[in-house]
Subunit: 436 residues, 2 copies
């Protein structure tokens, strides 16, 4: 049994976890695969700092060429993150005849077509289970076990940071900003959590799920996106009264006019398993025409769960399972029939709206007229005087909460634009999606 030499780029949190599993579980992996998988080289800018796992200085390098040019290395693991130099490194690995394993959702969501074309051209493969939902085997399940199904919808909580923040707000009754601070303190959010809380991370993962589940070729920047920054502690109270929890949901849903794709804070009914996903957990609900609804939940981030997924991909690559899957799926391939993406104007669903209004006669008539004009009917409404919520505010204001019946998103946005111009309605109208 000859050793299979692999190399790793990026020795941050995840990279150290992957080094740990490959070095310390080497014998276990040899037993279950029959292969001696050897971490031969690790490339990072910083080869001086100590990491949590002991790594022999002999395998550390800050020269990527020493990997690209080593013909004995057959698999490269890209854990640098971001676009550059990750993109260049992946291309160079492929051009030099090495298979790639990556956890980089941003890179795939932006340059998937280019990278997969390069892999095909060089007869190599790219495995990327860890790029969506960390340790949850969601990509392989869609790509293999569920492959005889036509996938009808994917609803997912793919960003653990946002879910942790929303859970803190729900259970602790804390404000958005103190929940963010708590998440930062516990290591669930970075110093700048913008990409997590504004939905960018989630749309990048949704773009990958959409390609895999529906063959949809979509730039993540074109996916309808709302973040959680405007969610307020009072929204949880109102949602709870109406039988919902609030989750940042990534949704891909097949309709007659094509695929509806969006990421948004969403009111999810109590009895939906997604409503019960707490803290930093991720979860995915896939509906297939034969299998029905299948629900997956697990840790979507963190050193060890992500290392589990990457090690699974490395083994699949070494054993040849990745090659088979890569060749049959033909992801991001030019000549593939692609599913059309629905314009967000034509999305159709229920919405939750919250806004402040002057608490005087005639105000409700004003906004009711706007909804009526735009063909939006109201399913339920709660009006709270502001002083029942925050005693420091002016007593003249009321908080209005509405849930609409199903309506066209274009109509709703037109109504919101008009409502925000009514003088008795104060500030912005906060909008979330509603899923029953």
């Amino acid at each position: 049994m000859s050793a299979i030499k692999i190399a790793l780029f990026g020795l941050g949190t995840i990279g150290t976890g992957v080094a740990d599993i490959l070095l310390n579980r080497h014998e276990h992996i040899r037993k279950v695969t029959g292969h001696d998988i050897l971490l031969a080289r690790i490339c990072d800018k910083d080869i001086v700092s100590q990491r949590d796992t002991y790594i022999s200085p002999d395998i550390l390098t800050n020269n990527p060429d020493s990997i690209f040019n080593d013909p004995e290395i057959t698999v490269g693991i890209e854990l640098i993150g971001g676009i550059e130099p990750a993109r260049t490194f992946v291309l160079r690995l492929l051009e030099n005849g090495k298979d790639v394993v990556t956890a980089n959702k941003a890179l795939l969501a932006e340059h998937g077509a280019e990278l997969f074309a390069a892999a095909r051209q060089n007869g190599r493969t790219i495995a990327f289970e860890a790029s969506v939902c960390g340790g949850i085997p969601i990509l392989s399940s869609i790509a293999t076990s569920l492959q005889a199904n036509t996938i009808l919808s994917i609803n997912a909580i793919v960003n653990g940071t946002s879910n942790f923040i929303l859970s803190q707000m729900e259970h602790g009754g804390t404000s958005y900003s103190s929940a963010v601070k708590e998440a930062q303190k516990l290591g669930y959010a970075e110093a700048n959590p913008a990409m997590d809380v504004d939905g960018t991370d989630a749309v990048q993962k949704l773009a990958i799920l959409a390609q895999l589940g529906f063959g949809a070729a979509v730039n993540w920047k074109d996916i309808s996106r709302m973040g959680i920054e405007s969610v307020d502690a009072i929204d949880f109270k109102f949602a709870n009264d109406l039988g919902y929890r609030i989750k940042l949901l990534a949704v891909a849903d097949v309709g007659e006019e094509g695929l509806e794709l969006h990421v948004a804070p969403t009111l999810v009914k109590f009895d939906n398993p997604l409503a019960r996903v707490q803290d930093a957990f991720n979860a995915v609900r896939v509906v297939g025409d034969y299998v029905g609804s299948v629900f997956f939940q697990g840790l979507g981030a963190g050193r060890k769960p992500t290392a589990s997924a990457i090690a699974g991909d490395i083994i699949d690559t070494v054993l040849g399972r990745t090659k088979i899957t890569f060749n049959t799926l033909n992801l991001w391939k030019d000549d593939k029939e692609v599913m059309p993406i629905k314009r967000s104007d034509n999305f159709y669903g229920k919405s939750y709206l919250r806004f402040d209004a002057e608490d005087r006669p005639g105000v409700m008539r004003d906004f009711a007229a706007v909804f009526s004009e735009k063909n939006i009917s109201i399913a339920s409404m709660i009006q709270h005087e502001i002083n029942t919520i925050n005693d420091n505010s002016s007593k003249q204001k009321a908080v209005i909460i509405l849930i609409t019946h199903e309506s066209r998103e274009g109509d709703l946005l037109a109504a919101i634009e008009k409502l925000e111009k009514i003088p008795s309605i104060q500030g912005k109208i906060i909008r979330m999606r509603v899923q029953d």
Copy 2:
């Protein structure tokens, strides 16, 4: 592209579902796999009755030899169920150079070693995702995505019939027997539901999970088993008061002395996702040392979900993924290091006990003495006069509910034996496991 011919044995509910997906989704499967997978022949004793899916009489046969002897058929699907003739047919398929796909948990749990040896000897493969939890991709996830992990535990609801009955009892407050009738009416239970409610089906599936997750070679008949027949409507009330739901759990748990395997009605804490699995759903919670806890939920039975899993296996077999997995897993292989199975006497855990006792001074002292003697300490106790539960009973009786602290199962059973001999304790002592 030449057609790949496959054959199916058994045209019952599941067989008809598989015929349906292969015949009606032929083009979809061709697109996602690049192969023209042709259902060339179906063998059943009954080739006359109409099925829900149109099947050309040309492919129907009641002569299995016409399949064994057809060199063009490369894959055989065994959906007969039970031991014979399924076992003989699988062996003959393998001997005749055909790969096998099966959903038959009883066959694998009883003859796994023989069948896998025959497959290896003939250079063929056996795929069996549908044998455990129908449409949920649990076996492939353990076998591939989670393969770098050491699996620490598997807790699962693998029998939809029992879960439906328990759900009915919990929500409807109905008796066991009327819940069984309701399950039969809706098609969730067979006329004779013994194998489902006594835990036989669940231990067979657990034996397969134990082999896959832990390399444990265990005869399903040796697995500790309790059924749900003794669960009473009042147990749900008491469990609820104490913060639990009641589920038939299949458990495989690695400890220092080996693997603990059992199937039993179990009190599961509200916040455990397994507690929330309702109706005929199945669910599995796998804990791996790197991935942490991963939870899967879906439909574990029924025509379409099972057909989804079988079609996935057929595709994996045709593409060659099954071959790779089969060769590396070495399931049921003689010379493999096997994990020792813990004797049930040495299981260690909390228990729920319910029994009727005379409601008079001194009774509690009597049974408290037994627990003390056997080293079992009581975590909580509820005593209800029987007339608060059932007005028709004698008013002299009380129902006693106990939850023990962690204790050795051998000690507990000795205590129960002794308790049942105390004259003031009436009838059998009902026991369930408790999982916090």
